[in-house]
């Protein structure tokens, strides 16, 4: 054990202080302030005082259709996340851990969307999804599928599914890597043994890979739920929450409430709800993982 000398104590204090100070003042403090402000109303002018509002902001939140619609839209992100994004990520990670040639080439291409700025991706897709002359609708026209041509971002019934699908396009690359980390840790002998027993490709995946990937699937679940609660950039850039709020998510609602409508207390109550939901989900799923390990 290191003998503690005065110079070690001094360095320890000096090394810890800058990080702790910045982190506490600029990250933890705003979170506490945000929870506090959710019980006040404030007009956004730095010098003007906060007015205590009790639970008014939360009452308004629960009674506003906009907030429930934003939560419903998160629900659609979650539905796409679990019903489509997870299987696609899983299949991609099977591909990049398989023995086909050009694995490196495919892995690189599959991962590219993850590293691009979401702002740029959103603009690219906005042009592709353009109702007239956009390439998606043009391709459908060429293939004779006129019936499927849509105003992908302008139709309020469709936009709240279009955006989660673009989100899928962005996110699968990263989830593919997370799944493949779990996949390569499965011992090769298990597959060889199964082959001797006559198991084929799909059966091997179903009976060996999937059951042994519980941990990765739980990690994915936490990431997916917390990620869906935090969606912002893609909606902000592609539709600004429109048309008419149809694609709003809690984070964009918070942003517009605060910086467009100057309802800072109301915005803080949205922030507090996102915070609590996010922490609750992380803790719940983590607890679930721990219990499961104890049981085994």
């Amino acid at each position: 054990m290191i003998k503690r000398r005065w110079n070690f104590h001094l360095v320890a204090v000096l090394f810890v202080l800058p990080a702790i100070l910045l982190y506490t003042v600029l990250l933890i403090n705003p979170v506490i302030q945000s929870v506090r402000m959710s019980f006040f109303s404030w007009n956004g002018i730095a010098q003007s005082p906060l007015v205590f509002a009790g639970l008014d902001n939360y009452k308004e939140l629960l009674q506003s259709g906009e907030f429930w619609r934003a939560l419903a839209n998160v629900g659609k992100f979650l539905a796409v996340g679990f019903l489509l994004q997870m299987p696609v990520s899983f299949i991609l990670s099977l591909i990049i851990t398989s023995k086909i040639k050009a694995v490196r080439f495919f892995k690189t291409i599959f991962f590219v969307p993850v590293i691009l700025p979401i702002t740029a991706i959103s603009i690219m897709w906005t042009f592709i999804l353009w109702p007239t002359g956009g390439s998606l609708n043009s391709i459908m026209q060429l293939l004779g599928m006129q019936a499927l041509i849509q105003d992908w971002l302008g139709d309020p019934n469709i936009v709240s599914i279009t955006i989660p699908l673009i989100n899928l396009w962005i996110a699968v690359g990263l989830n593919m890597i997370i799944f493949s980390a779990g996949m390569v840790s499965i011992p090769e002998e298990l597959y060889e043994a199964a082959e001797i027993d006559g198991a084929t490709g799909v059966k091997k995946v179903w009976n060996i890979t999937l059951p042994l990937m519980k941990e990765s699937i739980k990690i994915y679940s936490v990431l997916c739920v917390t990620g869906c609660l935090k969606v912002f950039d893609i909606v902000y850039v592609m539709t600004s929450g429109g048309p008419n709020g149809a694609s709003d998510v809690p984070a964009t609602l918070l942003y517009y409430s605060a910086f467009k409508y100057q309802k800072y207390g109301f915005a803080s109550s949205i922030g507090t709800v996102i915070l609590i939901l996010g922490l609750a989900v992380s803790i719940l799923i983590n607890k679930f993982v721990n219990n499961d390990e104890l049981n085994n």
Partner: protein, 280 residues
Amino acid sequence: MNKKLYKLRSLPVYILATVWAVINLYPILFTVISSFKNNDELFSSATSALSLPTSLRFENYVEAFTKGNLARCLVNSIFISGSSTFLVLLLASMISFVIARLSYKINNILLIYFTLGVMIPIHTTLVPLLKMVNTLHGQNNYLMIIVLYTTFNMPMAVLLIVGHMKSISKSMDESAILDGCGPLRLYGNIIIPLTLPAISTAGIITFLYVYNDLLFGVMFISNKSMYTITLGMLTFVGAKVTEYGPIFASIIITVLPMVIIYLLFQEKVESGLAAGAVKE
């Protein structure tokens, strides 16, 4: 196994892989192709989105750089991302050194305290943060935005670096200290070099996160000469222009640095971003 049979079996895998590769590359390819077109080639018919340009109009790029002021934005972004990354690595490696290598009772609490920061949704902090920045007159201030990016990216870096530092054998420190090595030399000459893999990972993902961010730019920068590249590109796209080619060029200019970094440090970027995500 019969070789022919094996090849036949992998055919569906190739098909699936190719289909997804096409879906993945198409938007980027479409943007590259469009960036060389003029309006006529972009919009003349219903299917012109699928056609090729008749010549490579590099003037679209020149226009994006000049009219969109993107050269300046690119410099701003690289400066802000670079400075934030440097500060994150410096501060995170310092506190990680204490948490991972010097045995104080409070270390565990410190680590849990920083783990909290990774779980907090950034949007929860926005209103109080704006209030604070306005009180300090910190709008349009390089130092302010660099400090903010540093703070918000530090928790992740601490988790990554502490994890790696803890795995280094403790006997290393003991023998060094017996030889009369002080804390600063222990940090700078022994522990940091051994932690370089984690530090470089943290550095790459911090740079990437900061470069790709839009939100802090939108909130804290209104002065056009200070725009980051994402903000500059978005503004250029939203401005009423008559030619669309330069807009597509501006998207390519924005993504190119990230593509280059990814191609240079593939494995590092992949494992780093995955580790970053899992830590959340």
